[in-house]
Amino acid sequence: MDFSFSKFIDYIVNNWQYVLEKSADHMSMSLTAVAFSCLIGIPLGVIITRNKKVSDVILGIANVIQTVPSLALFAFMISIFGIGRTNAIFALFLYALLPIIKNTYIGIKNVEPAITQAATGMGMTKFQILYKVEMPLSVAVIMGGIRIATVTGIGVATIATLIGAGGLGDVIYQGIGMANLQMILTGAIASAVLALFADFVLGKVEKKLTSKGLTTN
């Protein structure tokens, strides 16, 4: 395999539409998975703060899922659900769950007991305490989990091509097959850029959601 910078530029110039298409595909796949993870993971993370036993079980399961190598997880998915985009998203969803559940759990657990005690004593309901006090106070930690989940998700999604789900993995694996370094590099760099971009945007969202009162001291 030989590589030259000009060839690399040539490849991008000639194939930018294809790369862009695959990037969009890649992004939508990872983000859908993360979105579902948030939908399930955040409430789950909140629920387990109320019960020690349940929290041990849920966090245990999520930990186990996380330890399965991503390649194995995808292979496993094929054997059960077959190939396709939906299955890839499901695998990515499972993968994103742990950081989201765990960070939600930690974030809410770390809210100073005095603050929730004051809130209870003042006559706030449990739900009011959750969405008016605990969630706003742990937003940075929860967003941290979402950011980790997103960045890892975008990385892992390159493997989704193995179960025919498309994305930038297509570019990379085609490159490997054709021994085309330019293609491999393009796919890899594009997915890295996507990850950085997503993290940047989520960072902005986090800043927006975090009260100024939590950053000024």
């Binding site: 100073e112 603050i115 004051a118 809130a119 209870t120 009162g213 001291n217």
Partner: protein, 379 residues
């Protein structure tokens, strides 16, 4: 009025953290629960807003069992201030104070006016502070906000759980004074938990000293100081306590109660006889009016009798008329100053009706001091 009736709290089936406690807290009073840690004072307080449910017994507010109230409803009508302050750091000062009024859907304009009024009360200007966050404020300012937040929904009852313990001594004293000032205007029923006896005596209309989940003595600070029920109370408040708070010593505590009177028309010989019999160096000359009112005309000390040769002189002729008397509730410091400034050795003490009930002499002042001197046989 809050009535705690036979309340027991037990977590493990063995030890009663609160043991058959009875306590009546009158409207508009500050009642301080005090005791060493683990005596059940905080548990008792938390049962009033049902943060803790009693194992048995009942708590009534204005005659209604608090179990009949919805928990959330009950708490919204009871102010709550805690030691760690517990302001919400992600909300501005204004939002913190307005939180409960907003939750109970009070009118927005009314709420804003209330927040302004409360901030004025605690001497933090609305314009300067409402938009700021708790993290930007000092501990003392934060706890002021904590108090304002507790007052936001205009509750009749306020629970304060060691609210000033975490503050430095100077700030603590400021906030204590401010609380008393606020209370003068607001007349809330305040239950105040502390382990600091100085604070208890300063803040409390009544003090309930607790031990092992029971109240040992429930009395006014003066009552507890002057008549400690037993050794535990005496040790807890400290035997020299009276001298650390001398403003609690009244003229009536210092006076000699065995005051000897004499009629205005009695002779010197009579006077000398009475003095010898009653072993006193001063006689109070009174008008012979029917009891109970005793009108004082003057004082005759033993010096005035010395060297008088005219045996016809009566008390009214030789008595000292430019004396000063004092009211029984005047504090000792005032009396001592008056005595010094006017060079007085004897000060008659009068009750509310202007009747003579005692006399302060050099000896009686000394006696009070020797009462609190340590008894030691080493000297």
């Amino acid at each position: 009025m809050i009535e705690i009736k036979g309340v027991v709290k037990n977590y493990d089936g063995v030890t009663n953290v609160v043991d058959n406690l009875n306590l009546t807290i009158n409207d508009g009073e500050i009642v301080v629960l005090i005791g060493e840690s683990g005596c059940g004072k905080t548990t008792t307080m938390k049962m009033i807003n049902r943060l803790i449910e009693p194992t048995s017994g009942a708590i009534e507010i204005d005659g209604k069992d608090i179990k009949q109230f919805e928990k959330i409803e009950l708490r919204r009508n009871i102010g709550y201030v805690i030691q760690q302050i517990g302001l919400f750091p992600h909300l501005t000062i204004g939002q913190n104070i307005a939180l409960i009024p907003k939750l109970v859907k009070k009118d927005a304009k009314e709420t804003l006016a209330r927040v302004k009024e409360l901030m004025e009360m605690i001497d933090l200007s609305y314009d300067d502070y409402a938009e700021r966050y708790p993290g930007e404020l000092s501990g003392g300012q934060q706890q002021r906000i904590g108090v304002a937040r507790a007052l936001a929904n205009d509750p009749d009852v306020i629970l304060m759980d060691e609210p000033f313990s975490a503050l430095d001594p100077i700030t603590r004293e400021q906030l204590q004074n401010e609380l008393l000032k606020l209370q003068d205007e607001l007349h809330k029923t305040i239950v105040f938990v502390t382990h600091d006896i100085d604070e208890a005596f300063k803040i409390g209309d009544k003090v309930a000293l607790m031990k092992d989940g029971a109240i040992i003595q429930y009395d006014t600070p003066e009552g507890m100081l002057k008549n400690p029920l037993n050794d535990f109370v005496e040790n807890f408040i400290g035997q020299d306590r009276l001298w650390k708070t001398p403003d609690m010593l009244k003229a009536s505590d210092v006076m000699e109660k065995n005051v000897v009177t004499i009629g205005a028309n009695r002779s010197i010989v009579n006077a000398i006889g009475i003095m010898r019999d009653r072993q006193t160096k001063v006689l109070v000359v009174v008008k012979n009016t029917p009891e109970p009112k005793t009108e004082i005309l003057g004082l005759v000390g033993s010096n005035r009798l010395r060297g008088v040769e005219n045996g016809d002189l009566k008390m009214k002729d030789i008595m000292k008329t430019d004396f000063r008397s004092t009211h029984k509730d005047d504090c000792l410091a005032t009396v001592l100053t008056m005595r010094k400034e006017n060079n007085l050795r004897y000060t008659p003490v009068l009750d509310d009706n202007g009747s003579l009930i005692g006399i302060i002499t050099d000896i009686s002042v000394l006696n009070v001091i020797t009462d609190v001197m340590p008894v030691s046989e080493d000297y």
